[in-house]
């Protein structure tokens, strides 16, 4: 069992700023002013089981690549512990970690052919081999792989990745997609314990990205090894991973299965980050109609309100059910907003027809902020049309307006 354990991991970059100049310090009231260090990753805790496909996702600068590079050993761990199979890896050099990495830039050696690029790691590393000496004692010796062994492995990888015809080409003679396949080949051929993929598809065009995406998933199913994949693209994360780690500002926001992440986001950031189009957020006030009732009155910013049955909703935090009015944020996905006869009134700004379905961009009267409504038909509505919307209680998300955390109960 290969288990990767990240315990209280921090990455702190010391400030390059030498602080204020001597003159500023002389005249500054705050004499203790010191340049602040940059914390790229903060208290990162994660357990990765053998064979899992874990995706780190988040906006750029959220620390996902830094975390991956710390796992790889390309970046020092400022604080915390990293274990692989119970072995502390903090001070183990990248070359001895038995991990393989696929880079965003492919990082293929430009002077070597695809074959030699794939074979590179095999030629460098030694394997341990058991043998019995003259006295019949079993011993272990290290040796390089033979040419034939290397060839067999390279051919195996080339077969899987369908790059047999490219093996004699240099990286400069291959397209981005082909280079990325070779880079994958270089990673899989060594049979490492963990695969690390740092935005491997970012440099490819949209079509190729989709096909490579499914190929990487197939590769994972075939190899059954642990994959750690970094991306800023939530679609990639949702379609590939079986465990997703959503990060923001160096902090883990939520770790969950793709479907749970979509259905039960723990805070407004995760809710907004996962799913296309982005979730709509309405500023509303909620108030229990009276203490004994199960009806929750939700008032929108235009003054209109709807009555919701709390029994149909996910369980809401008690403190919001005290009969007082509370300001909260209502999260609604575009596809969960229904056009109906009774409800809240919005006005259509534009409609985007996307083949079989349409995105309607609508706003409150005298407001400019647009909300997106997705309908499963081709819309013929014109701009300015009044829309009446509603929603089902079980599809809503509610967030505290201050802490931005979900106030609804998570997955049972």
């Amino acid at each position: 069992m290969v288990k990767l354990l990240l315990k209280n991991i921090y990455k702190i970059y010391p400030s390059r700023d030498k602080g204020p100049s001597i003159f500023k310090r002389l005249f500054s009231k705050n004499k203790e002013e010191k340049p602040k260090d940059f914390v790229a990753v903060k208290d990162f805790n994660l357990e990765i089981e053998d064979g899992e496909f874990v995706v780190f996702v988040g906006p750029s600068g959220c620390g996902k690549s830094t975390t991956l590079r710390m796992i790889a050993g390309l970046e020092d761990i400022s604080a915390g512990e990293l274990y692989l199979d119970g072995q502390l890896l903090n001070n183990v050099d990248a070359m001895n970690r038995d991990m393989a990495m696929v880079f965003q830039s492919y990082a293929l050696y430009p002077h070597l052919s695809a074959y030699d690029n794939i074979a590179f790691g095999l030629k460098i590393r030694k394997i341990e081999e058991k043998y019995t000496d003259d006295k019949g004692v079993e011993k272990v010796r290290k040796r390089h792989l033979t040419k034939q062994e290397i060839d067999e492995k390279v051919q195996w990888a080339a077969e899987i990745l369908d790059i047999k015809q490219l093996l004699n080409r240099k990286p400069s003679e291959m397209s981005g997609g082909q280079c990325q396949r070779v880079a994958l080949g270089r990673a899989i051929v060594r049979g490492p314990k963990v695969f690390l993929l740092d935005e491997p598809l970012s440099n490819l065009d949209a079509k190729l990205r989709t096909s490579m995406r499914s190929e990487i998933v197939k590769l994972h199913q075939r190899l059954k090894t642990t994959f750690i994949y970094v991306t800023h693209d939530q679609v990639e994360a949702m379609t590939m991973g079986n465990k997703i780690v959503v990060m923001k500002d160096g902090v883990i926001q939520q770790v969950d299965k793709p479907t749970d992440l979509f259905q039960y986001p723990v805070n407004q950031f995760v809710a907004g980050f996962i799913g296309t189009p982005q979730m709509n957020f309405f500023n509303v006030t909620i108030q229990l109609e009276d203490k004994k009732s199960s009806k929750l009155l939700m008032t929108f910013e235009n003054g209109e309100s709807v009555s919701l049955d709390i029994n149909k909703m996910r369980k809401i935090e008690e403190k919001f059910l005290d009969g007082e009015a509370h300001e909260v944020i209502l999260g609604l996905r575009a596809e969960h907003i229904l056009l109906q006869e009774k409800g809240i009134h919005l006005y259509l700004s534009v409609s985007e027809i996307l083949g079989s379905y349409t995105h309607l961009f609508a706003h409150f009267e005298n407001a400019s902020n647009d909300y997106i409504i997705s309908i499963n038909e081709v819309s013929t509505l014109e701009s300015g049309t009044e829309l009446t919307i509603g929603f089902n209680e079980d599809k809503i998300h509610l967030f505290d307006s201050e802490s931005k955390q979900s106030i609804l109960e998570g997955k049972k």
């Binding site: 050993g73 070359m95 991990m99 990495m101 880079f103 830039s105 990082a107 050696y109 430009p110 790691g121």
Partner: protein, 327 residues
């Protein structure tokens, strides 16, 4: 002689004009985005440099080429007679008989064989040393580059003082303070060329270091990271990533250092002088033949031509053997 120069200049100017004309025609025919005016403007930009190149590069080469087949002396530049390949014959004869030219060739060969690997290795090591980030590396860079900026005459003289063979010389003082015997340095025929090699490598390495430095910073960092993930230690990373990445630069430096080394003259001239067989080199010999007694400009030109052919051939072979295969 002046008239000949003018005629050659006129001919080259005419060729230049024809090239411009053909280019304008081609531009029109191929319907490229360039207009006639642009093409002519482009060539006009080249013209000043071309005139300079003509008077200071092309013309001397052409003259020298012409002199090689005459018996021109230094004081009768127009008085030389055409004597065919006599100068070349004389040169080969001198080599065969072990004359000064043969010694000069031997000395130059020793110099080239020693200085090329030494200077390149030193330059590469210095560049690697300056490529690592640490405080004060700019100071090192400046120190290593300083000899390049200082005149050859000055550095040669400086070393001459350092290598003073008397017991008062700096090097000898140091050696003797450690109880080591006094050395003759440049005066010892066995070590003269070696010291010239050391001085030249010290003087030249800074420039190549700078070229290596820029090439080193051009090697992508992710390749080193990939190599680390593939299990390479620092030594292997140098051989598998750094060196292949430096290959084009290495070839360029190899060729320029080789050509420069073949022309070695100032150091032997200033540090040993008087056409001493200990340190005479081809260029120095050539110079001596033309500008000192016996003032044989024709003979000197013939040797220069032979040397050009030789260095040209070697450079061509280096490119063929070590260069990237063209697609």
């Amino acid at each position: 002689m002046f008239q000949i120069a003018i005629i050659i200049f006129a001919v080259l100017l005419f060729i230049f004009g024809v090239v411009v004309f053909v280019d304008v025609l081609l531009a029109k025919k191929n319907n490229t985005k360039y207009h006639t005016k642009q093409v002519i403007t482009a060539f006009l930009f080249i013209l000043p440099a071309a005139i300079f190149a003509f008077f200071f590069i092309a013309l001397p080469i052409l003259y020298s080429l012409g002199y090689a087949f005459t018996d021109t002396g230094l004081f009768e530049p127009d008085g030389g007679k055409f004597i065919g390949f006599e100068n070349f014959k004389a040169a080969f004869e001198e080599i065969k008989n072990g004359g000064t030219l043969a010694i000069a060739i031997k000395n130059t060969a020793i110099f080239v064989v020693l200085v090329v690997p030494l200077q390149i290795t030193v330059a590469l090591l210095l560049a690697l040393f300056c490529n690592v980030k640490y405080k004060g590396r700019t100071i090192f860079k400046v120190c290593f580059f300083a000899p390049v900026v200082i005149s050859l005459a000055v550095t040669s003289y400086l070393w001459l003082i350092l290598l003073d063979p008397s017991s008062d010389g700096l090097m000898n003082t140091i050696l003797m303070s450690f109880g080591l015997p006094q050395q003759e340095f440049l005066r010892n025929p066995d070590t003269t060329m070696i010291w010239i090699v050391i001085v030249s490598a010290w003087q030249g390495a800074g420039y190549q270091m700078l070229i290596f430095s820029s090439a080193l910073s051009g090697i992508r960092k992710d390749l080193y990271e990939a190599a680390r993930m593939d299990g390479c230690n620092a030594w292997k990373r140098f051989w598998k990533v750094t060196l292949p990445g430096l290959k084009p630069t290495l070839l360029y430096i190899l060729i320029t250092v080789f050509i420069g080394a073949c022309r070695i003259m100032v150091q032997p001239m200033l540090m040993v002088g008087s056409y001493d067989p200990k340190a005479i080199t081809i260029s120095y010999f050539m110079y001596g033949q033309a500008y000192d007694f016996p003032y044989l400009v024709g003979y000197s030109s013939a040797i220069a031509l032979l040397m050009t052919i030789f260095t040209g051939t070697i450079t061509f072979l280096q490119r063929k053997l070590l260069g990237e295969k063209r697609k």
